[in-house]
Symmetry: C2
Subunit: 409 residues, 2 copies
């Protein structure tokens, strides 16, 4: 893959297209071997296209198809292929139609976007004015695509992948099963999963994105054995798997909307991290009852953190004033008196669970609030799934825990 | 630059080293022209080093210096330079000393990290066991660096930049003045700043990171004229400049800690985004008095958003129960009854300001909460700076506003 553009080269824009393409190609059975970024210089770009066309089977060039003077990809392609540029009347008509739909006249500058290297095959762009094109240069099949991510993705799925699938019909597309874990280390997971006997064509991948590690099982598309392997991974990693195919928040949301529970959040320690996170789910938002974030001084300094958090949860359970819409109440609370020890609690109609935890490693403040918020959300997931509310997290140390049944509270 | 590693190539890890290096090199007067990522394959990597060594003056190779078998960079360098590997006794002693400090014995596998291409110059790594090295291959000076970002940065500053500065003494390092704007579009800023007459060696750069656009003024290091140009930019962009050289939150934090004000946040609309954001500043945290995030149903549906937010702010101002530590109180509040119109308020001892806004473009829910939180924080910045509290934001539409002096409230 060749990415173009000064802003990408200089790191002002993160090249999300590259990571996305790499993943999509892999899932379709192709493997990206090399990725290059060059700026908006005609000779550099032309040389890069030529260089890649001598070594790769397929080259995907991204960016530089816009109407402005620093968009030089079509010209560079012509140089690399040693051909001229010619006007695609067809694309001019397409662009005029796109502008007409918006009741506007196409600016003259857009004509440039219809100038393609001689002999190039036009690739339709249903969502923009930059058409793509494909051509054979030296040993490679080279595809030229627009830089706007939405346009790039539509073109990859609609134009490029079908052509690759047709031409390389022996390449086997892959399925990817994703499991999200919390509380384990990547090396720990790797060691545990060594016990697996993977069938041919299977591969494991990991992606660490604090505080989760995503385990990916790649297998030939539609393979029967996959469900069996997936179940073995689930058995080996136990209930550190917090969600399947989707992040923890969506997993909790799916379970929560099947109940009539409403959620209250008290975040003395996590400082709004959890309630902000919960707002990312449109399904959870209407279930949020009330949330508050206390300043440090609002926790009773005479109490132990565990007792203080229990008091917070109890107070929230008893405070009905803001709870007009009814429904049973769930409370998640976090509190700390010093940075090291953190108490978290889940209060339900069946009783209240609280635990006191410390970390084994040193986290930045934001990361630590993320980890603690994850423990809270995981307690809720466990309770909604009928599992033990207090989990085992290898990366955290549990100093104490307590359960108070509702009738004793 | 050549980055190595399957995880970077496949997008499982974002290559932050590349963006960072590009920026740092630019500030030192060097310009990155090409960046390539290859996986952990010996032949691919060796070919890439060779290819770059024939075209560039300086090549920086990042990653693949670890102790494991898929770390192949030293071997690839040797292949590219057509030399053998030899043991650096010096680095073995260094590594042994590092382990001894931790009361541990160096594992045998680490010996690999002291195997360098013949004739390479060792680059010290004071913060890890992977030493770097430099060598001349074909026309290029090639530097090999560890992939761990903290180690890479230390080595770049301590070893590579001094060597480059000494060798290319005609290259002029640059200063970079950063200004953060809010409420303007990148094209709008570009047009406004066309009025500037930039002296030779000056350059403007933009970096858009929603909801801010960072304006960068690059100029020759220590240039007197810079302050004058910077002032012109400030005049042209007016009070859409929310901070200088640091993000808005730090700017507000600097002003807030010079007062004895404490801050209360009521986030019906922003859903905890603001209080979570405020927690990113260690200086602001102890100034947070109380914060709450209401569920949708907690705002009085009979009221207009502006009236409802004023009521929230007033209630917060009157509610002294959680305010044990004294100090004057500032309140920031947000509320909405439908997704389109949002009311925000700042209440101070001098009076209360509120405004009702809508957006001109469609934002994702998270982005919109970020934009509204930024308006709130900017109101606070303006008040703390003695400016008009209600700002003009080109990208937002103000539907109404109100000011209620304290003695009338």
């Amino acid at each position: 893959m060749i990415s173009t553009g000064e802003e990408v080269l200089h790191g002002d824009i993160t090249d999300t297209n590259a990571a996305w393409l790499s993943r999509v190609l892999f899932e379709h059975g192709f493997s990206m071997t090399r990725r290059t970024t060059v700026g908006d210089q005609l000779d550099m770009l032309a040389k890069e296209i030529e260089h890649c066309s001598l070594t790769a089977d397929v080259v995907i060039v991204n960016g530089g198809l816009g109407p402005t003077t620093d968009d030089l990809t079509a010209q560079a392609a012509a140089v690399a292929a040693d051909v001229g540029l010619e006007l695609s009347e067809h694309w001019v008509e397409e662009m005029k139609a796109k502008y007409a739909k918006l009741s506007r006249v196409m600016p003259e500058t857009n004509i440039k976007q219809a100038m393609l290297p001689e002999g190039a095959e036009l690739l339709d762009n249903p969502v923009g004015t930059a058409c793509g094109f494909a051509m054979h240069i030296n040993r490679a099949w080279v595809f030229f695509t627009p830089g706007v991510p939405s346009e790039f993705k539509v073109m990859t799925h609609g134009q490029i992948l079908p052509r690759l699938a047709q031409n390389y019909d022996d390449v086997q597309a892959k399925d990817c099963h994703r499991l999200y874990t919390f509380g384990l280390s990547e090396s720990g997971i790797g060691q545990t999963l060594q016990a697996l006997k993977l069938p041919e064509g299977y591969e494991l991948g990991y992606r660490s994105s604090l505080p989760f590690i995503e385990v990916k099982i790649f297998c030939p598309r539609g393979h029967q054995e996959a469900a069996h392997i997936r179940q073995q991974v689930i058995t080996l990693l136990g209930d550190n798997i917090v969600s399947f195919g989707q992040p923890l928040l969506e997993e909790v949301a799916d379970k929560l909307v099947k109940t009539d529970y409403r959620l209250t959040v008290c975040e003395q320690m996590t400082g709004g991290f959890l309630v902000n996170w919960l707002h990312y789910s449109e399904a959870v938002q209407p279930r949020l009852n009330h949330a508050w974030v206390l300043g440090e001084h609002n926790i009773d300094e005479q109490q132990e953190p565990l007792a203080a958090v229990l008091a917070m949860a109890t107070a929230a359970q008893e405070n009905q004033t803001h709870d007009r819409q009814g429904g049973s109440r769930l409370i998640l609370a976090s509190g700390t008196l010093n940075e090291g020890q953190v108490a978290v609690a889940l209060s339900t109609p069946a009783g209240t669970w609280a635990q006191l935890i410390t970390t084994k490693r040193r986290y930045a403040s934001r990361d630590f609030r993320y980890v603690v918020s994850t423990v809270m959300l995981d307690m809720l997931r466990r309770w909604l799934s009928g599992k033990e509310v207090i989990g085992q997290y290898e990366s955290l140390q549990r100093v104490g825990d307590i359960y108070i049944p509702a009738n004793e509270g």
